[in-house]
C-alpha cells in the first residue's frame, strides 16, 4: 500500500574505484528490483489506471475520466478521513516516541534483569493485530468486559462508542503493540553510543539526566528519525486493528483513510473512487517519508561521532 518508500539508490559517486565496483554490485539489486516492480510499481500503475474508471468489481471496467476523482475529492468524507488519519498518526507518535525512547535506553544497559524484561516487553509484538483487537474488544466490553468483571466502575465506559474514547483506545492499543518494536530500535541505537562519551561526561561531573539529554538524545538523532518514519508511514496502513476494533465507528469517528478505501472498494463496490483514495494514500506516504528524510539533514552518511 504505502510502504513503497523510494528505494535508497546509491548516490552516483565520482570516485573511479567505486564506479568500477558498482557495475558488478548493480546486478545484485536485480532480484529486489524485479520484486519491487512486480509487486510495487505494476499494481500502483494498475490502481492509478483504475482511479480513472468506474467499476463495481463485477461488470465491465468503464473508463470515465475524472468522474471517480470528482466523487472522491468532493466527498466530505475525504477531509474527515484525512483528519482522522492525521490524528491517529500524531497521537500515536506523541505517545510512542517518548515511552519507547526511555524503555529502549533503559534496556540498553547490560544487566541480566533488563534482558529478562526486554523479552517480556517484546511479547505484544509477537501477536497479530487482529488477535490484539479481538482481545481488547472483549476486555473493553461495557457489560462483560474487564471493568464489569472486576467491578471497577471507572473501567466501565462506552470505550468504543464515544468518538473521543474510541480514538484514545486505538492510540493506546497501537502504542501497546508497537512500543516494544520501537524500544528495540532505540535499544540497539543506544548500545552503539561509545561508552567513552559517558566516561568523559562523568569526569566532567554530568549527572544521569544531563548525560541523557546531552549525549544519548543527540546521538540517537538518526534512530529517532528512523523510528518516526516507521511510525508515521506505518500509521497510514493501520487497517486491521481499527477494522476489528471499531470498524471506523462510532459513526465515522475513527474511519482512517485505509479503512475508507476498503469500505468504498470492497463493501460499496466503488472500485474507481477506492483506487483514487489508494493513490492519495501513496502520495501522502511518499510525501511524509521524504519530509522526514529532509528533517534528518541533507547528508545521512555524515558521522554521528563528531568530535570523537
Amino acid at each position: 500500500m504505502t510502504a513503497f518508500a523510494p528505494p535508497a539508490g546509491p548516490r552516483a559517486s565520482s570516485d573511479p574505484a567505486s564506479r568500477g565496483r558498482s557495475g558488478a554490485v548493480g546486478w545484485l539489486a536485480v532480484p529486489a528490483l524485479v520484486a519491487f516492480v512486480a509487486f510495487g510499481v505494476v499494481p500502483l500503475i494498475g490502481v492509478l489506471a483504475l482511479s480513472f474508471t468506474t467499476w463495481d468489481s463485477i461488470g465491465a471496467i468503464r473508463p470515465t475520466g475524472f468522474d471517480s476523482w470528482r466523487a472522491v475529492l468532493t466527498d466530505p468524507g475525504l477531509p474527515h478521513a484525512l483528519w482522522v488519519t492525521f490524528e491517529v498518526m500524531a497521537l500515536s507518535w506523541l505517545v510512542q516516541t517518548p515511552i519507547s525512547l526511555l524503555i529502549g535506553v533503559f534496556l540498553a544497559g547490560r544487566h541480566r534483569y533488563r534482558e529478562l524484561l526486554a523479552v517480556l516487553y517484546f511479547i505484544p509484538l509477537l501477536l497479530s493485530a487482529a488477535a490484539i483487537a479481538i482481545t481488547y474488544k472483549a476486555l473493553l466490553d461495557p457489560n462483560f468486559g474487564l471493568g464489569a468483571g472486576l467491578g471497577v466502575p471507572l473501567l466501565v465506559q462506552d470505550w468504543l462508542g464515544r468518538p473521543g474514547l474510541a480514538m484514545g483506545v486505538i492510540v493506546f492499543v497501537v502504542s501497546w503493540q508497537w512500543i516494544p518494536f520501537h524500544s528495540l530500535i532505540y535499544q540497539s541505537g543506544a548500545r552503539q553510543i561509545p561508552r567513552a562519551m559517558y566516561e568523559a561526561a562523568e569526569l566532567d561531573g554530568a549527572g544521569r539526566v544531563r548525560q541523557f539529554l546531552s549525549i544519548t538524545l543527540p546521538q540517537l538523532k538518526y534512530t529517532i528519525i528512523t523510528s518516526s518514519t516507521l511510525m508515521v508511514v506505518g500509521s497510514l496502513t493501520f487497517f486491521d486493528l481499527i477494522f476489528v476494533l471499531t470498524e471506523g465507528g462510532p459513526g465515522d469517528a475513527t474511519r482512517v483513510l485505509a479503512l475508507d478505501m476498503y469500505k468504498r472498494g470492497f463493501q460499496a463496490n466503488l472500485m474507481g473512487p477506492a483506487s483514487g483514495i489508494a493513490v492519495i494514500l501513496v502520495l501522502v506516504g511518499l510525501a511524509l517519508a521524504l519530509l522526514l528524510r529532509r528533517l534528518g539533514g541533507r547528508d545521512q552518511s555524515a558521522s554521528q561521532l563528531e568530535g570523537m
Binding site: 494498475g46 490502481v47 483504475l50 463485477i58 479481538i134 457489560n143 494514500l281
Partner: protein
C-alpha cells in the same frame, strides 16, 4: 443471511483486508477480460456455499444425495466462510470464473450480477416447472425477482426479525409485553428504574440498528415508504412518514431505551444476546437465527420458558399493516450464465430434485429453522422448539408484506451509505432531516 460467530467476520475480513490496498485492487483489473466457461473444470457442475453449522452439513447432505442418485451428473461443492465468500464470489463472477450454482442473498447483490449479465433468467424455467415454484413461499420470490424476471431459486429457510423478550424482567416490574409503540416508550423508564436495560442492541454492527428503522418505517407509513426508496423515487427519504420514523427512533435513544454503551457492542460476538439471557436487558429486536444461540449459550433461559417472542407492535396513528415483517425471506441459488449447457441442465436438475427435498426440509426443521416450503408446519409439531418454529412459520406465512432487509435489498453502494448514516443517526450526530438529505443523495445508485 447468516450472522453469527466472531471468527467469521473478523478473521476473514482481515484476510481480505490485508490485501485491500493497491495490490488487490489492481489484481482484479485483469478480471473481466477472461470469459472462459464456468469454473470447476470440464463437465463438472460446481456449487459454492457457506460453511458453519447447521447449514453447511445440510447443504452438503443435499449435494451428496443428488450425486448418489445421479452418478453421471456430479456436483462439486466448495465451501467458504461467510465474509470470505462475499468477496470471493464477487471476484469470481467479475473474472468470469463463477461456479455453476451461485449461492446468495438475492436483492441488491443479485441485481448487480444481473446488470452485469452474469446470471441466467429463470422465469421461463419456473413457468415450465410450476410444481417447483408453487411449493415454495410466494414471499420468497420477491428478492429473487429483478424487473419482473426471476433470476434465482429461493432456497433454505425463512428468517424474520422478531421482538424477543425476557419474561422474568416483565415479572419483576409487573408489566405486560408492549402492544404498541406508546407501551414501549412507557416501559422504558420502568425498566431503567429497575436497573434493567429496556432493549439490548449490538449497535456497532450497524445493521442491528437498521432492523429498528425497518419496522418503524413499516408500522408508521406502510411498506410503500421504503418501496419508494427502492424504486428510486426522488427525495423518497424526505417523506413525512420517514421523518416521523427517524424522529421516533431518536426519541427512544434519547430516552435511554437501549443498553448503555450499545455502540460498543457487536452482534458478531453475540454480546447482545447475552445481555438478554443474563437478565440485563428486557427486550431485543433480532433475527430468528439468534434463537439457537440463546438456547445453546443461555443455560436454562430458553428451555426454562423465560424467552418470549412477538411481532413488532403497531405504532399509534401508523398506517402500516401490523402483520408485516422484515428479514431474510430465503436464501437464493442462481445459475451462472457462463456455465455450459450441460452444467446448467445439471443445476436445474439439482434445483428440482435436491433443493428442499423432503430430507433437506426435515434437516432444517431438526436444526431449528423453518424451511420456505408450504405445509412444513405440519412437520414442526413434534419438534423440541415447536412453539417457536410455529410462530416463525405463522409470522412468515401470514405477513402481508415480508420485506427483505434493507442492506440486502439495496445495491451494495447504497447499502454502505445507508449503514453509515444509520450509525450516525443512532449516535445522534445527525438529525432525521440530515439523514434524509444524505440518503436522498444515493437514491437510485
Amino acid at each position: 443471511m447468516e450472522r453469527t460467530t466472531i471468527s467469521r467476520r473478523t478473521f476473514l475480513n482481515l484476510a481480505v483486508g490485508a490485501g485491500a490496498g493497491a495490490a488487490l485492487a489492481a489484481c482484479g483489473s485483469s478480471g473481466p477480460t477472461g470469459s472462459t466457461g464456468g469454473g470447476g473444470g470440464a463437465g463438472s457442475t460446481s456449487y459454492w456455499f457457506l460453511t458453519g453449522a447447521p447449514g453447511e452439513a445440510i447443504r452438503q447432505g443435499s449435494v451428496d444425495r443428488f450425486n448418489q442418485a445421479n452418478p453421471d451428473t456430479q456436483i462439486k461443492a466448495t465451501t467458504f466462510q461467510n465474509d470470505a465468500y462475499k468477496t470471493k464470489i464477487k471476484t469470481a463472477i467479475g473474472a468470469g470464473q463463477a461456479p455453476t450454482i451461485i449461492w446468495g442473498w438475492g436483492g441488491g447483490g443479485l441485481k448487480s450480477y444481473v446488470d452485469a449479465g452474469q446470471v441466467d433468467d429463470l422465469t421461463g424455467w419456473f413457468g415450465e416447472n410450476a410444481a417447483v415454484r408453487d411449493r415454495l413461499f410466494p414471499s420468497s420470490f420477491g428478492a429473487a425477482t429483478i424487473d419482473g424476471k426471476i433470476y434465482a431459486m429461493p432456497a433454505e429457510t425463512v428468517q424474520p426479525i422478531v421482538l424477543f423478550y425476557d419474561k422474568r424482567a416483565f415479572d419483576k416490574i409487573k408489566a405486560e409485553p408492549p402492544q404498541s409503540w406508546d407501551d414501549i416508550m412507557a416501559l422504558v423508564p420502568k425498566f431503567n428504574a429497575a436497573n434493567i436495560a429496556p432493549f439490548s442492541l449490538g449497535g456497532q454492527s450497524r445493521w442491528t440498528n437498521m432492523m429498528w428503522l425497518e419496522f418503524l418505517f413499516d408500522r408508521i407509513g406502510g411498506a410503500e415508504v421504503f418501496q419508494a426508496v427502492f424504486d428510486g423515487e426522488k427525495d423518497a427519504w424526505s417523506n413525512p412518514k420517514s421523518i416521523e420514523a427517524l424522529t421516533r427512533m431518536q426519541d427512544l435513544i434519547k430516552a435511554d431505551g437501549f443498553v448503555k454503551g450499545f455502540s460498543s457492542i457487536t452482534a458478531d460476538s453475540n454480546a447482545d444476546q447475552a445481555l438478554l439471557y443474563t437478565g440485563r436487558a428486557a427486550m431485543m429486536l433480532h433475527g430468528t437465527w439468534t434463537y439457537g444461540g440463546m438456547k445453546a449459550d443461555g443455560g436454562d433461559f430458553v428451555s426454562g420458558g423465560n424467552l418470549g417472542w412477538m411481532n413488532f407492535p403497531p405504532v399509534e396513528g401508523g398506517t402500516g399493516d401490523p402483520s408485516d415483517t422484515v428479514g431474510n425471506p430465503g436464501q437464493y441459488l442462481s445459475i451462472s450464465s457462463k456455465a455450459t449447457a450441460e452444467q446448467k441442465e445439471t443445476a436445474k436438475k439439482f434445483f428440482t430434485e435436491a433443493v428442499l427435498s423432503d430430507a433437506e426440509v426435515q434437516a432444517w426443521i431438526d436444526a431449528g429453522s423453518v424451511p420456505i416450503v408450504k405445509g412444513s408446519e405440519s412437520k414442526l409439531a413434534g419438534t423440541a422448539d415447536a412453539e417457536f418454529l410455529n410462530f416463525v412459520y405463522e409470522t412468515s406465512a401470514n405477513a402481508k408484506v415480508f420485506a427483505q432487509s434493507w442492506d440486502q435489498a439495496l445495491s451494495p453502494t447504497a447499502a454502505e451509505k445507508l449503514l453509515d448514516n444509520i450509525a450516525q443517526l443512532f449516535q445522534l450526530s445527525i438529525t432525521p432531516q440530515q439523514y434524509a438529505a444524505n440518503m436522498n443523495g444515493v437514491i437510485g445508485q
